[in-house]
Amino acid sequence: MTKTPVLEARGLTKRFPGVLANDAVDLTLHKGEVLAMLGENGAGKTTLMNMLYGLYRPDEGEIWVNGRRVEMASPNEAIHAGIGMVHQHFMLIPVMTVTENIMLGVEETRGLLSRIPMLGRINRREVAGRIHSLSQQYNLAVNPDDFIRNLPVGIQQRVEIIKALYRHADILILDEPTAVLTPQEAEELFVIMRNLTQQGVSIIFITHKLKEVLRVADRIAVMRQGRMVGTAQPATATEASLAEMMVGRKVILQVKKGEAHPGQPVLQVQDLYVDDDRRQPAVQGISLEVRAGEILGVAGVQGNGQRELVEALTGLRPARSGQVHIGGVETTHYLPRQVTESGVAHIPEDREKHGLVMAYTVADNLCLNRYYLPPFAQGPVLNQTQIDDEARTLVQKFDVRTPSIYTHAGNLSGGNKQKVIVAREFSHPVRLLIANQPTRGVDVGSIEFIHNQIVSQRDQGSAVLLVSAELDEILSLSDRVAVMFHGQIVKVMPIAEASREKVGLLMAGSATADTDEQVQPQVIK
């Protein structure tokens, strides 16, 4: 059965200073299919999509839509050709409403002045009506009058999808749509995607999560170092085979780790209360303890106070009450630098906002936690040679894929940004590692690497507080699991007692999960 290709890339090439980001890439998308795109961080997936959407001009190659060659000079041509894109970082304006965001650029006007271009009165009701019917047709519930800044990411993503559909897109590019979603939101997205393809929309779906690929893809395309290295069928592919195709070597998807040997308590939190940005209580009386040489995993659906907890521990947010001790010293009111100097490494949740200075070079970002100390500084003067040497070593050791150490951090691919943070944070003496979503948006090869780094920190005697919304990550790394719900730790248990179902139930707020403690012993037997 031959299907008509709705979208075709032929020999697309894109060079950035020092990188061949896309090297003669071919891609075919058929009507009504979900084509999953896999590839390591920096493989060139986003670059390819940006070319298809007219944001980057290809240096070479052609783009064909429905059998016609299209010159994508700007997103206008792409939109006109029926292509919509949901970007890795959402392109929504927080202070505007859903309606305003959706109609931007294709506003409808009414009334006397509507003959004058751009000065007619916007017909909000008409737009809201169309949004309503689109959300009915594709099962994408949104409220047109909500402000974006008040919406959870899952809903924001729906707004992005409607934005594309509103422009009559029948080709939809989703760049890592699930990276920021809770597992439940991801499930809802998959239903939406099915819905769309049944109505003739074709989807390119980029992800690093191999399980998702096997579930939702009709076809799989894999990129490596700017090249298209092949396609696979979900029926015959396995996670291991896909990982190998991506990385070019065998990847151990299971974390190897030995028995923990917990020592002295390193982090002690007593009855901590922390407020969120809107001054609402977010952390409500948390007490916990992490010992040297153990990993405490904090599981929980995003938005249950994890971020505020981590920010309070690292000095980024004031605690309302309660105490934090690190290594026996009270650090509750420490400044972030004092916390760092007490031997804390921090991998923040939002790498763009709290992890890196985008306009600084990779080298400068790599020494942000130590630039003022010798040998990087002599008195008030920086020693750039030392900084650069250190950066070269770290880039090598942590396999950061960057054209040079002088590249601006903002130009790195998502996963490589993450590696720069990990490299920096592990490069000073650490006794407590606080990692919040350490592998978000990171490829399988790098996940393996970061996981191994975390385990080896533990084995060297560091205490590790791991916060993650990925249940798999929690279950495979932790020695003990704490479940967070509504700003409280509802349960702490050794890993042996933490079954997927039990933790999942507790995360969803079901206190009755305790009842399967009666079930638990049987399972162990």
């Binding site: 940006n50 959407y53 944001l55 980057y56 700007s74 997103p75 206008n76 939109i79 894109m85 970007h87 392109m91 929504l92 304006i93 927080p94 202070v95 505007m96 305003e100 965001n101 109609m103 931007l104 650029g105 294709v106 506003e107 006007t109 002045l113 751009m118 000065l119 007619g120 009165r121 916007i122 934005k163």
Partner: protein, 303 residues
């Protein structure tokens, strides 16, 4: 009663350049370009309006010259900030100095006797029939020179454009998140150029008010910080036309009160009273935390 009426009438009059200057800043900053050069644009436009109207003996040509000057100065600021991505504060500062220097020089050379051909006068007051006869309200609101009326009408027009039209939506989008606007096919550069230059026209009108409606001739540094007060009004008015109008009115009120009370308290130094409107502006500006457009001041780099 008489005193209250004249103070309020004068308040609206002296609020006019402040409000117009604030609207100039509104167009610029809402689209993402910081504009601290309103002062310079006003000053230059005031000078050119006076110069052209005096030498052609035509108020109309003076207005045209003032508007064009404002737009051209804004065009300069736009090219430097948008195309060459220079720091917008520096660009604005340079333009302010440029205006002070150029106007000072041309003033000495052409706008003082013996060269000075004499003023072409100022716009006449245009009391609106019937309405201006209403007691109290009539003289306060409906007995003014033309630019005052234009300013009041513009407040409503800009409110409409900003919140109810595609133009306003795009302008705000570009000032908040230019990349998002770009991905929807909106030309970020065009939007910024157009709005900064519209702002220039408005700053030009504020300058025209100074020479062709208020004083009747040009004086060195006659803007006297009004361009900066306009910025304060814009910020205190939260980048909205009605907010800026209210803030400008507050300044106008303080200023009018100050002018009218000088004769009542001759023992208080005039300079002290003249300081009060500025002091009030500073105090009021500290009352609320302003939230500027998210991308203001950041040059846009196309991918």
């Amino acid at each position: 009663m008489e005193l209250v009426t004249t103070v309020l009438q004068l308040a609206l009059t002296t609020a006019t350049p402040i409000a117009l200057g604030a609207y100039a800043g509104l167009f610029s900053e809402r689209s993402g370009v910081v504009n601290i050069a309103i002062e310079g644009m006003m000053l230059m436009a005031a000078m050119m309006a006076s110069f052209v109207s005096a030498y052609t003996n035509s108020l109309f040509l003076g207005v045209v010259a003032g508007l064009l000057t404002g737009a051209l100065m804004a065009g300069l600021h736009a090219v430097v900030s948008i195309k060459y991505k220079t720091d917008q504060i520096i660009s604005g500062t340079v333009i302010n100095f440029l205006a002070a220097g150029v106007t000072g020089h041309l003033y000495q050379a052409y706008l003082v006797p013996p060269r000075w051909p004499g003023s072409a006068g100022t716009f006449p007051a245009m009391p609106i029939p019937v309405l201006s006869d209403i007691p109290i309200i009539g003289p306060i609101l409906f007995d003014h020179q033309p630019i005052v009326y234009i300013m009041v009408i513009l407040t409503f027009v800009i409110h409409y454009v900003l919140w109810y039209t595609p133009w306003g939506l795009r302008m705000r989008a570009v000032g908040e998140h230019p990349r998002a606007a770009d991905t929807l096919g909106i030309n970020v550069y065009f939007t910024r150029y157009a709005n900064v230059m519209i702002g220039g026209l408005l700053a030009g009108l504020a300058g025209i008010w100074l020479t062709l409606e208020w004083v009747g001739s040009f004086n060195i540094n006659m803007t006297n910080g009004r361009g900066f007060i306009a910025l304060a009004a814009l910020i205190f008015g939260r980048w909205t036309p009605f907010g800026a109008f209210g803030a400008a009115l507050l300044f106008g009120l303080a200023n009018a009160a100050q002018i009218r009370t000088q004769t009542m308290f001759p023992q208080v130094p005039a300079e002290f009273l003249q300081m009060l409107p500025y002091l009030l502006t500073i105090l009021v500006a500290t009352l609320r935390r302003p939230i500027p457009p998210a991308a203001v001041g950041q040059p846009y780099e196309k991918a």
